[in-house]
Symmetry: C2
Subunit: 697 residues, 2 copies
């Protein structure tokens, strides 16, 4: 049962009856369900030309929709009445990270331009309806959770790039209108389309997670109108020259720990900075404010709220900047911070020149988790903690990542988690925490997992980082993402230290990382090289890794129109590999997702260019054979060589004494028997450059 | 006035009213008229997406059609009432050689496949209607004559390649049905479409020439039915093993001169070969023959005539082979020869074992120009000589090339020319004569020009051939083609000795060759590298010059579906250059087309890596300045250097003493003043690799 998917199916069925000729191209990766439409043309280079209505109708009716009685509009645990795990289902998940806008973008009319409305009047940018075509691909790769970058309405004012960043949210409770599908038109609302997408995922056993951003907001947020007191204000004339104030005696990019704040508040730049802030206009000039609100509500008005405020009041919202003292980054001109407390930070109260100064943005008010005040902004907190329930109750989502959660007041995090769990006790939370030494803290905070540093450590096979990451994560209090890239980092396939070979190796290995949740960053599965954003760990020229001739040279999906390189000759390489690995992973899922069964297979010295992940199959301890799964990678992605795999320890742990193994997977060779044991029963086996072998023993 | 073009215009106008969306791509080279349709989308790579009806309607109505009273269905000389020149208008022509099937082929629906009927039910292969879109391109390049490779119906039986060769004609008096445009459908006949194309050319001042093939015919020709006695017959069982008989004592590939025929007729292989031939079935078994004809005429019959003959009579038509004795080529299995005389060659009559032997194919009967009999096959000759009048009277064509004319009986050539001239005294004839030493003979035979060896000599800049060709052609009795390639030869841009640089140099120089008729082989203007056929002067791997990834790798347009590489980044390079050169050529057309005004500018020693073509402007002799046009090429296409241009002789001839020139064109630099004279008044000027400069003095 899935009200909105069924509605979509009927709309598509009706529209599929038209007799128009469509020269509408999709990449064949979107056709993992082997569409049977007679009108289709398969091009030699991997595009399929279809009638989109017929194509999506067959997709939905024959391959996505289930006829049973479960209500797939609910979170999956509730829909299928599964045993709740307090959100720990994420431990067994395989996650696909996608920005719908980008993953479902395609130049369907092949005009060389991603029009808002193409030759047929349809979107070329991503929509939830088009994203349905990726579900069979996700299934094929073994994906069980779709994690979506923000889908809420974001501000287009002074937008970055061609489209603006979805992280500059202007309304938490609206889906961004660019995601509305023009093929479907008025027959369904955007909310219904999103709901249909979640229902389709649920029907296919895929959970859906969102990304919420309670710490920052667009400077052009709709909330400014209703709650100007939740924001920080400056005179418009002070916007030019507005920047993070420099603090003498503190080194560059210093975390805003309390011990630095004597220096912070005695800095002249800080004093000057604080003096720029003014009281919010609802309080300081209520009549004029009422007029502003009226103007904005006027149907004939075409101005943004921030423009009206500038014109009428000569004020503006103060932009955000990094919470690190003396950070080199310029202000983030498109977003601002919420005022988390109605008073100044406790620690600042004795240091301020004038304790009645207007609310201000500074390293302590930003990082309010370390610098709380006395009076929580309860009304704001209520709003922020109702975002997830809104998405749970209206769309049945299954989990969320909280952006910059580490900077939120602890009590607010508690509130957010508590309210979500009240709706769905199996709701899962991911902390935006990179530092794995804080895994236990975040677990304590109520999160089910942390992000970790896989994107950084995984590709660093030459420095020992990779080995430390794969072995070291086993004992953490929460799982981390078994990943080699995220939407903020370089692509693995662009790493000079290995490119496609590295990408294939890590993508395979990540399916078997102890305490790791396999994570595919949309595009990774077909060796996309262009990052979506150059936020972390990027080279200076990371945005320019494509050929200059490429239409997306220098474009970043987070800001620009961007079509992933779905058409390339190796596009099926990792997808087909994952199709095999997901079956192996599923065969041993209980074993793999419980780090107790893990044992490292040597390669702990720096310079050991291999990784060996051993598992004793759950329930099979004490047997002499057939109870070990060994996953070995030659992390030297440039040279093949003999690799000595120490399996003494895992033999002791398991009781296995067998001298006869089965190669059940390799990135480089067919399945075969394994005899390459030495006298001690350890493996001494040839591995090609970057090869991953899985051996059953 | 142009009945059929007007009819086409009306059909297009009507069809342009439909509101369908077309994603129909054309290369931008087809849009030299700058189409204004609002629905069009210009892709960044050079395709334009259009509604084909609207596109062709605007093309015809606004850019091709003229409203005056001239009847453009007539040959151009008659339509415009021009001064007849006995066909010598060709001397001032600039010729574009095209196989309509290929030049107008495009994968309009971009399916990666050249369907007979694409997504919209339209042709992807060439049609006369689609060829209209190339007329603005031809105009831009200064083309004044379109020379078409055969357009008559050809046989599809045992066809070569994907489509078969248009040289295997099966009916001289029908246009090949593959050229019928499906966009137009039943609204016009193929003949009307062809006529509309000729009318459009004429309106744009472009003459149209055809290629006729009176010496050979398809083994599956319709003429077999009506006139079996015009063909040579063997038993079907003798077809296997049929080959040119070897003659002892004659070296390989010897021209069939009379002195060799004692040896020919005493060869055992020849005797055996002759014994295979049988009398035609109409004579030997008239009743059975009548039945065969009836079967073939039966509407329910789907068999080819040759199949019926094999099934019913166990006979077949003997295939053709080279007229050269002991040639290494295998028989040409798809074509045969006409029997030009009703008796055996005179010279053979005393040498034959049995003078009553059945008509046979041999080196002498093939080359009947050297080996006539006594009794011309008058009925056949009447048919062959009525082909051109058919095309004149029905389509108003302006000239023709006669394929293998040199092998026809001289009296037949006389008859063909006489009958054509009777219809249009200004009809122009091109002899398929490569040997320029025979120019005077061919002029005597009634031809207006010969092909010559430009395709071979022009690109050979390193061996002196090019210089000999450009200077040596000035004194020939007829013009030759100023060309660097034909449909039978390698492409200039594929020549390892220069590629695009060589192509640009020759294409420029050919516009100014003394006694040369500039000739562009379709595709040459955008650096196509793949030959259309590998008939002459090709390397062993000439058919494989494209990238292996290219969809047309190894394909030859003469036999296969082939799309010229209209989309490449240098596609406008030569076209834009020719647009400038045609104006210069037109300014001096009388001068350039009369070799009297020509004077070579040195570079006559082998190893002189330059060519200098000097012209004294007609009517300007005796002036001291402004009466010389100097065209100089650095034929070293790999290195720039100073070139010493000897202009003593042309100064003497013209009276010019000026020390001040104007560079009016260069392939490498802008127009500028020229001062680089030495004390003797000769030029000593830097020329880039492969540069062509035109200097007015």
């Amino acid at each position: 049962m899935a009200k909105n998917l069924e509605k979509l199916n009927k709309v598509l069925q009706k529209k599929a009856r038209t007799k128009k000729v469509f020269n509408y191209a999709i990449p064949d990766l979107w056709n993992c369900f082997d569409y049977q439409g007679k009108e289709q043309v398969k091009t030699p280079w991997g595009e399929v030309i279809v009638d989109p209505f017929k194509f999506y109708y067959e997709l939905v009716s024959k391959h996505l929709m289930k006829k049973d009685e479960a209500n797939y509009a609910l979170p999956l645990t509730q829909a299928l009445n599964l045993e709740p795990s307090n959100g720990d289902w994420i431990k067994k998940a395989t996650v696909y990270s996608t920005m719908i806008r980008t993953s479902a973008t395609y130049d369907h009319d092949r005009s060389g331009n991603l029009e808002e409305s193409n030759l047929y009047g349809f979107n070329e940018g991503g929509t939830f309806v088009k994203m349905l075509a990726l579900i069979p691909l996700l299934k094929k790769m073994g994906i069980t959770t779709v994690y979506m970058l923000p889908i809420s309405q974001f501000s287009l004012k002074d937008k970055k790039g061609e489209l603006g960043s979805p992280y500059g949210v202007s309304n938490f409770f609206k889906i961004d209108p660019s995601l509305k599908d023009k093929m479907i038109g008025d027959e369904m609302t955007l909310e219904e389309e999103f709901s249909a997408f979640v229902e389709a995922c649920h029907m296919q056993g895929i959970r859906v997670m969102i990304d919420i951003i309670p710490r920052t907001n667009s400077v052009n947020s709709d909330l400014i109108v209703t709650n100007p007191e939740w924001f920080y204000w400056i005179n418009y004339s002070d916007l030019e020259g507005y920047k993070p104030p420099y603090v003498d005696g503190v080194s560059a990019t210093t975390a805003p720990k309390p011990e630095h704040f004597d220096k912070v508040y005695s800095s002249n730049e800080v004093k000057e900075h604080i003096r720029k802030f003014v009281v919010n206009p609802k309080e300081s000039m209520p009549k004029k404010w009422a007029k502003v609100v009226k103007m904005w509500q006027d149907e004939n008005n075409e101005l943004e709220i921030l423009d009206i405020i500038r014109n009428e009041l000569n004020l503006t919202i103060a932009p955000a900047f990094s919470d690190h003292i003396n950070d080199v980054q310029p202000p983030w001109s498109d977003i601002t911070f919420f005022r988390m407390y109605n008073d100044h930070p406790d620690g600042a109260k004795g240091l301020l020149e004038d304790v009645n100064t207007a609310p201000y943005i500074l390293y302590d008010t930003i990082k309010s988790s370390w610098h709380p005040g006395q009076e929580p902004n309860q009304e704001l907190w209520n709003t922020l903690s109702s975002i997830i329930p809104y998405f749970q109750e209206n769309f049945g989502i299954d989990g969320a990542r909280i952006d910059m959660g580490h900077a939120l007041p602890g009590e607010l995090v508690d509130l957010i988690i508590k309210k979500a769990k009240a709706v769905d006790s199996d709701f899962s939370f991911i902390a935006e925490q990179l530092d794995s030494s804080l895994a236990a803290v975040e677990k304590e905070n109520g999160y089910n997992m942390i992000i970790g540093m896989g994107f950084y450590d995984g590709p660093r096979v030459w420095t020992g980082n990779a080995n430390a990451f794969y072995y070291g994560s086993a004992n953490l209090a929460t799982p981390v993402f078994a990943c080699g890239e995220t939407h903020d980092t370089p692509r693995i396939a662009a790493r000079p230290e290995g490119k496609k070979t590295l990408s294939k190796m890590l993508t395979a290995l990540n399916m078997f990382m102890p305490n790791g949740v396999p994570f595919i960053n949309s595009g990774q599965e077909f060796y996309e090289v262009q990052p979506m954003n150059t936020g972390i760990d990027c080279r200076d020229d990371e945005a320019f890794v494509l050929d200059k001739e490429d239409p997306y040279y220098g474009k970043l999906a987070l800001f620009d129109k961007y079509q992933l390189h779905y058409i390339n000759e190796d596009r099926w390489d990792l997808v087909d590999m994952l199709a095999i690995l997901k079956d192996i992973r599923n065969d041993y899922l209980n074993t793999l997702s419980n780090p107790e069964h893990f044992e490292g297979l040597g390669f702990t010295s720096p310079g050991d260019m291999a990784i060996g992940l051993g598992y004793v199959v759950e329930g099979e301890y004490g047997k002499e054979l057939d109870n070990l799964v060994l996953v070995v990678a030659n992390t030297n992605v440039f040279e093949g060589r003999k690799v000595y795999v120490n399996i003494d320890n895992i033999r002791n742990k398991s009781g296995n004494t067998s001298r006869f193994g089965k190669l059940i997977f390799s990135t480089h060779e067919w399945e075969r028997d394994i005899h390459e044991f030495d006298n001690e029963g350890n493996l001494n086996i040839y591995m090609a450059a970057g090869e991953v072998k899985i051996i059953k023993l």
